[in-house]
Symmetry: C2
Subunit: 495 residues, 2 copies
């Protein structure tokens, strides 16, 4: 066996272990009986160990080094590059460190759940402090010359640093804060659903299923299930599973969760199958993944044109719903409100929520912000930018799970997703014509084909920003998003 | 690390791989999207390879050899013994042979499905011939001094050979055939459900769920799902999943499938957790497993006493069902009829179905019966014992999946299950008092506790027949079953 084949066999094995971990994780979040949790945690840890021991195998390291000095095709080059990154990270982190990190994380997660439910940051603070300490230690082990926060940012979106994000967020803030003020001053009244109305779960499920199918999600190669927090998992070729949750009083919450997760699912279903179980066959980044979900959720789903198509389906399931026009529904689906919770935020305030987390993470890792000072810092930013007083930590700095998991540097990828989505929409319109017309036609296949060609088919051969540039002809920038959001909301709110 | 610890670590790893294979198999049969089949088959083959390469590791062989010469506790002794059996089998079979067996099996399975649907044995014959040839070859590789069929029988129920089964089946036949004749001559009319009546799936599910809970199945440590063929999988500690199927015209089919699979499930839920992921922590044999399912399905479920308890639950779900007495329901649930299909057979004819398969397998492997002569042999036995003419191969020798999978020697374990169940019932009654009274009380926990203590808790420390003897004070024998079945059906049919 040649060394290329030997390398790929080892890579495929590693990614097969990952696929199995992903599958068992999906099962755990959706249908596992509660008492199965202990054994599941144990088997997942065991799988992680199996995978880790293969990843740090010196023979893999030698194969990588040898292949780095050879002329290889683009796919193999990209695979070698990504495996170098993974291998180096794995061998640099001592096994005991990885264990103590895993242990601290699971304790922090439990503490966070309790602290959030009690709305008491002080319970969580020592655990968060520990996660920060261990994360700093991890950065040291990795031994980069960048600032600590740059190392963390790069882990979640390769190539992105504070030098990239700072101007980007500044640009967003500069135009979003005034837009928000104008919207708030417009005095537009948002219609409300009748308080006594309920939307049966089964009907919501039928409606959402129809929307997901219209987007092109292939239910013969995937599933929709329920979980506490919606997510999408591309488990293996032709098996992509997403989840949603249902609220009997609010059919829109489930609808947009389904459009969001179906968007992720379409990306997974469109990845190049000939490269399954290797880096180039995977989604290129969290930011690009988020662009696919946001595209369908917001740019397609939160439009009057969408309701041109979806209204008959909606009425079929909910014949007693108010007789709203598509424009009214559009306004309901795009209500802007400075509020506390990120995951419920509209398109105008969403990125400001992200920016608060980005700024605080940057302060923690690069400027020495003490963990105990996080609530005050958080609440001050919410007051300055949103004009609202955070009444409790559970509605403030305790709302997100990410820090308890040590996922520092993850949040900004959500904003990248929003920016990429708008940039893709702009280019798509240039090539396919008026997007509202396409949406209203009810045949959305040309949009999916465009995304398949420009994004999904490409896997991870080039970097995220190269991919966006190849799809849109421009380097990633916030311009398209700002133009989109200003134009959309000016129209909606008659600004 | 001592060699005992090293041995157990390796054993645990092997069984963890098996647990994952089991889980992915469960998913495949229940909820996997159809297009996921190809990748699933591939990952299962990969896992089998991962497991196999660990099993044939010479270092494992050395550990087994070394521990065989040491004083060990009962658990470790049993683990070493079982691993010796597995290791020897794995190292004796060349890897290419295992691959070609696997390939032939998957082709035979496809051919069998088509042949059964076309009711054409000749399509399947060459594949069956190949499976027989490969199975003979396997027996040769294993290099035993027993007859080929003895080797196969021993694989599915350790310690059982033709010398054990022959008198057992002869004894059964001697008393079951006359019993069947008497029942047929009794002219008893079995009431039928009204033809236009339907039993909604959701209501069936609620009813069956209630019965399964009453048996003691813990739904916080397990699930009930749907699949084409009902089965039960003890995936890992505190996660046992069984399946059923629904027929809108016949609520009893699902009920007894659920009681059967819940019986299997109770065994899995009761296995000794401290020995998870090792041989002694597993069910001791297929025969004993089947005894647990048959106990609940037949000895408990197919009684008038059961309907004392279950009738109110049944009426709650199906208020329009006929106003039958518990005795009538008992008769409906115990209709005896010489018919073609094993899985639908009553307690009187079931073991005769098994015996036909046993005799034919014995002829194939020990007496050189040609594959092409199977249909004629089969049909002649059906005529002799049941007095019926098999109209087509799909209702005859093509009905079961087992041979296409190369599972020769498996069928007799079903009969062992029936015999063990009756023997356990007899001893249970000696200790707990009248079983009908216990069933009628609606509190079945004393029966489950008895099974836990005598069977489930024991895992696989002793052999199946030792286990039955320790639970009942007698070596396994057909007497209890024959007494049970003669007494039950004489009463039901006024013989």
């Amino acid at each position: 066996m040649g060394e290329q084949e030997e390398f790929m066999l080892r890579v495929n094995d590693l990614y097969r272990f990952e696929a199995i971990q992903g599958h068992l994780g999906w099962d755990q979040e959706t249908i596992m009986p509660t008492k199965g949790a202990k054994a599941r945690g144990e088997i997942l840890a065991w799988l992680a160990g199996q995978r880790h021991s293969r990843l740090i195998d010196p023979e893999l390291g030698e194969l990588i080094s040898s292949l780095e000095n050879k002329e290889l095709d683009d796919f193999l080059t990209a695979n070698v590059k990504e495996m170098r990154r993974k291998y180096d990270e794995a061998v640099k982190l001592p096994t005991e460190f990885v264990s103590s990190f895993t242990k601290a994380r699971s304790e922090a997660l439990i503490s966070w759940q309790k602290a959030r439910s009690d709305s008491d940051f002080s319970q969580f603070a020592p655990h968060l402090e520990n996660m920060v300490k261990l994360t700093r230690q991890k950065v040291e082990y990795l031994g980069s010359e960048s600032t600590p926060y740059d190392v963390l940012l790069d882990e979640y979106e390769v190539g992105m640093t504070v030098a990239d994000y700072d101007p980007l967020f500044a640009g967003l803030k500069e135009r979003l804060v005034p837009l928000l003020s104008k919207i708030m001053e417009s005095g537009t009244e948002i219609p409300r659903l009748p308080e006594d109305m309920t939307f049966p779960i089964d009907s919501q499920e039928m409606f959402c299923n129809q929307v997901s199918k219209a987007m092109g999600f292939d239910f013969e190669a995937g599933r929709m299930d329920r979980s506490t927090h919606p997510f999408c998992a591309g488990l293996w070729p032709d098996d992509t599973r997403f989840t949603t949750r249902f609220d009997e009083k609010d059919p829109f919450s489930c609808l947009y969760a389904v459009m969001h997760e179906s968007g992720h699912g379409l990306y997974e279903q469109g990845l190049p199958r000939e490269h399954s179980y290797s880096p180039v066959g995977m989604a290129v980044s969290l930011g690009v993944h988020e662009s696919q979900s946001r595209f369908w959720e917001n740019q397609i789903g939160r439009t009057a044109a969408f309701w041109n198509v979806a209204m008959p389906w909606f009425r079929e399931q909910f014949p007693d719903c108010p007789d709203w026009s598509n424009e009214t529904l559009d306004l309901v689906a795009n209500e802007v409100k400075p509020d506390f919770i990120r995951v419920e935020a509209d398109e105008v305030t969403y990125n400001l929520h992200i920016m608060i987390r980005y700024e605080i993470e940057k302060m923690i890792f690069n400027e020495g912000l003490a963990v105990e000072d996080i609530p005050e810092t958080w609440n001050k930013m919410m007051k300055d930018w949103f004009g609202i007083d955070v009444p409790s930590d559970s509605l403030g700095c305790l709302q997100d799970i990410h820090w308890s998991m040590g996922a520092f540097g993850y949040f900004p990828t959500y904003t990248l997703g929003n920016l990429y989505a708008a940039q893709l929409l702009e280019s798509m319109a240039d090539e396919l014509g008026d997007i509202d017309d396409i949406i209203s036609s009810g045949d959305w296949s040309s949009m999916l084909s465009w995304l398949r060609l420009q994004i999904h088919d490409k896997g991870s051969v080039i970097t995220p920003s190269e991919l966006i540039e190849s799809a849109t002809g421009k380097a990633p920038s916030p311009d398209a998003f700002l133009n989109y959001v200003e134009s959309k909301y000016s129209k909606l709110y008659n600004l």
